[in-house]
């Protein structure tokens, strides 16, 4: 339990990143999501923008920044789809806020914690998306528990690996 809570001042500080990383990584995530899914049909089960949103939120530990980051990335993702702008924006704004809020309270450097958070946030994202699409927009959306669980698991695995790679871009503090 001690590993899950912020034990030191250093753990709750926002992790500094170069600005270029904040700009480039979301764009790269959107581009990869759009391009790879063209050649690998099942690649769309991944949600790289969501993973990027979660990562930046839990590492910066700022709910406002997490909300804004999620909002921007979500709207950019909406722009690539046929649905109204804001569906993914709403979902990712909430995910960013929650991830940042949890990042203040728990240790997000641990891979297990990251995995649990990622699994939960992906599942929550699917639920919110279903709610918005099916109930707010009244559009067809096939909800499958098994599919969503598999989707959450795959995104969790990929997310843990991706988070480890993005940790390399942290600015070193001396």
């Amino acid at each position: 339990m001690s590993r899950l809570v912020a034990a030191s001042r250093r753990d709750i500080e926002a992790q500094p990143y170069p600005l270029i990383v904040f700009i480039l990584v979301p764009v790269l995530a959107l581009g990869l999501q759009s391009f790879v899914a063209l050649h690998f049909e099942r690649f769309d089960i991944l949600d790289l923008p969501l993973l990027v949103t979660i990562y930046f939120a839990i590492t910066r530990r700022d709910p406002i920044a997490g909300t804004i980051t999620g909002c921007v990335i979500g709207i950019a993702q909406d722009a690539l789809t046929r649905q109204p702008l804001g569906i993914f924006g709403i979902c990712k704004s909430i995910i960013g806020y929650l991830a940042a809020s949890l990042g203040v309270r728990i240790d997000t450097e641990n891979h297990g914690t990251r995995a649990l958070l990622t699994f939960g946030f992906v599942f929550l994202h699917s639920g919110m998306y279903w709610l918005l699409v099916r109930r707010l927009l009244a559009q067809p959306y096939a909800w499958s528990w098994i599919h969503e669980l598999i989707r959450a698991l795959i995104n969790t695995v990929v997310g843990v690996i991706l988070f480890a790679l993005l940790d390399l871009a942290k600015r070193k503090e001396y």
Binding site: Q33, D47, T67, Q77, L80, R82, L85, G86, I90, V133
Partner: protein
């Protein structure tokens, strides 16, 4: 107050952001605008999308260009294995397609003519813009493609996007250099389709799982898996007749029971699209360029048709045996036409390679026959017929187009003609084919000469009646002509040395191919006279044909003739079996003095077995003189 905002600023920011986005979504999902304002998004939303596309597209274009370059180098310069074989296969395929093109063009022309007749407005695909797919939406819920062609390339909203395999979708959003394509698998898409076999129309949409389906279809057992689905053109977006896919399965629509949804397997591989075609120009009128293309394609198709027919003619086995010896061209149509001075003449069979008694032109010359003489023994129920007593004679009475009343001249003409192309004498053994299978006459000249004992011959092109002349025991039989003219025989056969059989055509039956009307009288046997039309006479049953017939070439053939006799056979003639022919060529065996010979070689008399024509066609025989003068009605015979 400040403490409130500072304390809940995070939540307040979240609420503000969510509220703004909800309001934005609410604005975007308003009811669709009319067609003239058919912009899927408002200006601000469109700007955001444009920014996002502009942000994502350059890397995608770069990656796509790099990948295409690498693949191009590999495909065009390295991976050239089996290219020659593929080239040969493709050449063969092109030749096959060219052959098929002729027929297809004919069908297309016919279809266009019919459409013009019906004033049917058909939209044709005039111009397409090829585009490369550079991205997708990246989500499962939105079936959107990004292509590298935009408004600068002439692309606009709602243009159909297709591949050679089938339709893909329609343009949803257009930017200067990119466009978004809404696939047919998207739930918000729609396309008018028709099932190719059952002709059931419907609306194609994507379901939640990303599979296209025809929604709200009445249950129909005729819908089978694998049935082709094509566009119907009713959506005013896709041209009619483009391939959509095939029926995958039929499922019940849970929301609209008892309606069903027909799941479609798309024809185009939507999961791995690389190049697509955007139809940028459609219309219902053929442009001059299209007309020119059609004319050129038709000309090319005609040329290909000729080539194809030549190829087929070379490959198919010829019906003409090149090794066969040359036949006499006297009977050829060319010569007939040349002689006829433009008069259409019936076709004539070629000369036989091995002439026999059935071969035309082997009939004895009419000049060598004695009018009124019997050609074969006659039998009569009363026993007055003296079988084999008289040598068969043929008295030809001719009244042809050149009938001058001079019977002698006519006979000579006929005889001379028969000498050339006279028909042969054929006994009726019951195996004679119907008149529809008869051989063609040998020309107008033979028409006159064939009034003597000939088989029923019917030229194909000449409407004529085949007049029967059966004169055994006064029995007249009729065989129908081939030219649908019913022959009603009015036979007046005369038995006992004066049997005369006269048949009268009813329906223009005596019209020769040359237009001349021929009335002939055939004297068969012992004075059997049978006028006939078209110069042909069918002699059935008691065909008085000598046992030995000498052909023009001196060949002799033996004929065993059976004479059907009503009633008891005459004592003297009962079971008279002609002796075998000596085989000596004797052109004069048909003359009267040769009666003993004819008696020896006369036909066999057989009792009537009931196979003869019904009695309704029988006529009472009338006595007739032994000799019948052509065209001179005899006081006792004839008619």
């Amino acid at each position: 107050m400040d403490s409130f905002f500072s304390r809940y600023k995070n939540a307040l920011v979240l609420i503000v952001v969510l509220l703004a986005q909800v309001i934005g979504v609410a604005i975007q999902v308003r009811r669709p605008l009319p067609k003239e304002h058919a912009q899927p998004d408002a200006g601000g939303i469109r700007l955001i999308r444009y920014w996002a596309i502009s942000l994502v597209s350059p890397p995608e274009r770069l990656v796509h260009w790099l990948g295409a370059s690498i693949l191009g180098v590999w495909d065009n310069y390295l991976d050239l294995i089996h290219v020659r074989q593929q080239n040969r296969d493709l050449q063969a395929e092109i030749q096959r397609i060219r052959i098929e093109e002729g027929g297809i063009v004919e069908d297309a022309r016919q279809g266009q003519r019919l459409q013009q007749l019906l004033a049917f407005k058909e939209k044709y695909v005039y111009q397409t813009v090829p585009a490369q797919v550079i991205g997708t939406s990246g989500t499962e819920q939105s079936r959107i493609l990004s292509i590298n062609k935009g408004s600068k390339d002439g692309v606009s909203v709602d243009m159909p996007v297709i591949t050679p395999d089938g339709i893909v979708g329609r343009i949803r959003e257009v930017f200067p250099h990119t466009s978004q394509v809404l696939e047919i698998t998207d739930p918000t898409s729609g396309a008018g389709i028709i099932l190719a076999d059952t002709r059931i129309r419907g609306i194609l949409r994507g379901n939640a799982l990303g599979q296209p389906q025809v929604v709200n279809v009445m249950p129909d057992e005729r819908i089978k898996t694998g049935e082709r689905v094509v566009t119907s053109g009713g959506d005013q977006i896709f041209p009619r007749g483009l391939a959509v896919g095939v029926v995958d399965r039929v499922v019940t629509d849970p929301d609209h029971d008892p309606l069903v949804d027909v799941l479609i397997h798309p024809a185009a591989n939507l999961s791995q699209l690389e190049e697509v075609l955007v139809i940028t120009n459609m219309g219902d009128e053929v442009t001059p360029k299209q007309k020119l293309d059609m004319i050129q394609s038709e000309a090319a198709a005609d040329t290909e048709q000729l080539k194809a027919s030549e190829v087929l003619a070379e490959r198919l086995p010829s019906r003409i045996d090149p090794d066969a010896p040359k036949t006499d061209d006297q009977n050829s149509d060319d010569s007939a036409d040349a002689e006829g001075e433009g008069i259409a003449r019936p076709m004539r069979p070629p000369s036989a390679l091995h002439p026999d008694r059935f071969t035309p032109n082997t009939t004895p010359a009419a000049a060598s026959l004695t009018p009124g003489a019997r050609l074969a023994p006659q039998s009569e129920g009363s026993g007055t017929t003296k079988a084999g007593v008289a040598k068969p004679h043929a008295a030809v009475s001719t009244s042809s187009s050149s009938d001058s009343g001079d019977n002698g001249d006519a006979t000579e003409t006929a005889a001379a003609a028969a000498k050339k192309k006279g028909p042969e004498l054929v006994p009726d053994d019951g195996s004679r084919p119907p008149s529809t299978m008869a051989v063609h006459p040998t020309g107008p000249s033979a028409t006159a000469s064939s009034h003597a004992e000939t088989t029923a011959t019917a030229p194909v092109h000449a409407p004529m009646a085949i007049l029967p002349a059966t004169s055994s025991h006064g029995t007249a039989t009729a065989t129908g002509g081939t030219a649908s003219s019913t022959t009603q025989p009015h036979a007046t056969p005369t038995a006992g040395g004066g049997t005369a059989s006269a048949s009268k055509p009813v329906a223009g039956s005596s019209s020769t191919p040359g237009g001349a009307t021929t009335r002939a009288a055939t004297t068969a046997g012992n004075g059997i006279t049978s006028p006939s039309g078209a110069g042909t006479t069918a002699v059935r049953a008691a065909n008085p044909r000598p046992a030995t017939v000498s052909g023009e070439n001196g060949t002799t053939s033996e004929v065993k003739t059976k004479v059907i006799v009503d009633g008891p056979l005459p004592a003297g003639a009962k079971k008279t079996t002609p002796p075998a022919s000596t085989g000596t060529p004797s052109p004069q065996t048909q003359h009267a003095p040769a009666a003993p010979t004819a008696q020896k070689k006369g036909p066999e008399l057989v009792p009537d077995d009931g196979s003869r024509p019904p009695p309704t066609m029988q006529q009472k025989p009338k006595p007739q003189p032994q000799q019948t003068t052509p065209a001179q009605p005899q006081p006792q015979g004839g008619r």
